[in-house]
Symmetry: C2
Subunit: 318 residues, 2 copies
């Protein structure tokens, strides 16, 4: 079995040696800055590991795996403009350091570079890869649209929230698994099984993110705790609590003082056991991801790696 | 020979019946609004007419022709955000009517839709079409980058300006001709000849635009005259005048009062004969475009249509 670390080294090398047009440097420097910004490289790792698990040389899917990571980074550049986010991966965002105009244009350049990377050495799988990429892309845009619209709405349901994060986060993670399967020459059923695995994994990942923002250890998580509550974000915790005790949530979220509001909302969560409910939902989703693997027909050691990853991400502390 | 009007009807029909995801409507409505906004449809017309001129059924290149128009419209949506432009084709821009955030996200969705449209029914020409599309896209972004940087610079040369407008405008027009040739199954030499035609045509088109902004008839041109001078835009007229009499241009452009500045700069232009020099440069470029046609081996009637188009655009009054 190919070690995860070897694939991560391959991914960093491929990202670090991408061909850029020589000029204008101001256009491509923010692209290189973003791709150099680290992150978990979860999407290309899943694509390459899927290809390997299906018996292919991971090199077969390398350009396409890197294209998924490039697309992901393009969305981060534009999301940071739309959300006016000053930091990304612990560094100034392109938006904050180069301005909105440069972030828009360099983001566009990165999206088109991702398409070109997707096409590289795709052979007779190019049309199918592009089709998958196109569906994933529209899903991500739709998720971002819903996310922005939910901020303005007071009646968002938990089901709507799950649909939104599936589009905004999970479709790209599932799509990365499916891309690896596609490039490995797997049939539609195996592609679907790996896609379903990635979608459930992505949902568990996002719910754990919601949990960590309230219940994480700030020293380990690396971010201040309570930001979601303070900003009135409609997370899984918030929406589940609103289902169980809308009156208590209405009172707690109406408190003006930031710290008092965090404390009051958290007290409601604790009384309702929201933290445990979220952990259970996370576990359930990671087991759903593991269950999807059965239809992919992986060898035992690879199936174990994918199962362990799902459980690791659903219980991570940072 | 296929009439231009028949191709324009085909293009409008294809643009009007594009498949959109059903929701969220707020994401795709600005896309439909933009594609419905008219314009000359020059790029898809050139692609289809090139395919026809090379003996192919224009339907062979229809998806790819429409993709070029979609890409063009995507650049308009994002350019209007970057330039804070309130109007486009005589209507409120997406930026002005839906806001910057929506314009960014709907523009992204349109770019990805354009890629999917490019791939539709491309058959074994998909890889080559994507390669051309990728090079054209990066050229357009580079042109926009230079355009923005030139605004901040006082030492832009005429050669730099021509390079910028070639990237920002001409590469997409030349690329549309080359796309039509590629989809018609033409060889590299014919693709290059049609690309060169389109690039020279695009340069003539832009220089005529510069000329019209100062010397056009406002009643015919449809825009107020003198906007470029008032805004200190580094057009062909401005840069050529700076070459010939930098001192006079420095004095004239330093005048604070808007109308007085327009009058003074125009007086310098008139004394130096800049209007005629621009007309000559336009004519020279349109003849260069016509000259490129020789290597494409078109039948006489199609060659005449392309030559007439180049001369028409280089001498247009609006």
């Amino acid at each position: 079995m190919i070690p995860e670390k070897a694939l991560l080294v391959t991914i960093e090398h491929a990202l670090g040696t991408l061909p850029y047009p020589q000029s204008p440097s101001s256009l491509y420097e923010p692209v290189a800055y973003t791709l150099d910004g680290g992150g978990k490289r979860l999407r290309p790792l899943l694509a390459l590991m899927t290809a390997a698990a299906l018996g292919a040389d991971p090199a077969t899917a390398l350009h396409q795996a890197v294209a998924m990571e490039m697309f992901h980074n393009f969305t981060l550049i534009h999301d940071d403009v739309m959300d006016r986010s000053a930091t990304r991966h612990g560094r100034p965002s392109v938006y904050a350091s180069r301005g909105a105009v440069q972030a828009i244009l360099s983001g566009d350049a990165l999206l088109s570079m991702a398409v070109s990377e997707l096409a590289a050495e795709a052979g007779d799988r190019l049309a199918a890869a592009l089709d998958l990429f196109g569906r994933v892309s529209q899903g991500v845009y739709q998720g971002q649209q819903y996310d922005m619209e939910f901020e303005e709405r007071a009646d968002v349901t938990l089901a709507e929230y799950m649909h939104m994060i599936e589009l905004k986060t999970s479709v790209l993670i599932g799509g990365s698994c499916a891309m690896g399967a596609l490039m490995a020459g797997a049939g539609a059923d195996v592609q679907t099984a790996m896609y379903d695995y990635g979608v459930a994994l992505g949902l568990a990942f996002q719910l754990r993110d919601d949990w960590l923002d309230t219940y994480g250890d700030p020293a380990v998580f690396g971010k201040p705790i309570g930001g979601d509550i303070a900003n009135g974000k409609k997370t899984w915790l918030h929406l589940r609590a609103c289902e169980l005790d809308p009156a208590a949530m209405a009172s707690a979220t109406a408190i003006t003082d930031r710290d008092a509001r965090i404390e009051a909302v958290r007290a409601v969560y604790d009384r309702l056991g929201i933290g445990d409910l979220c952990t259970q939902a996370c576990d359930s989703l990671s087991e759903q991801a593991v269950g999807s693997l059965a239809a992919a027909g992986l060898t035992e050691e690879y199936a174990e790696w994918f199962a362990a990853l799902a459980r690791r991400l659903a219980t991570r502390d940072r």
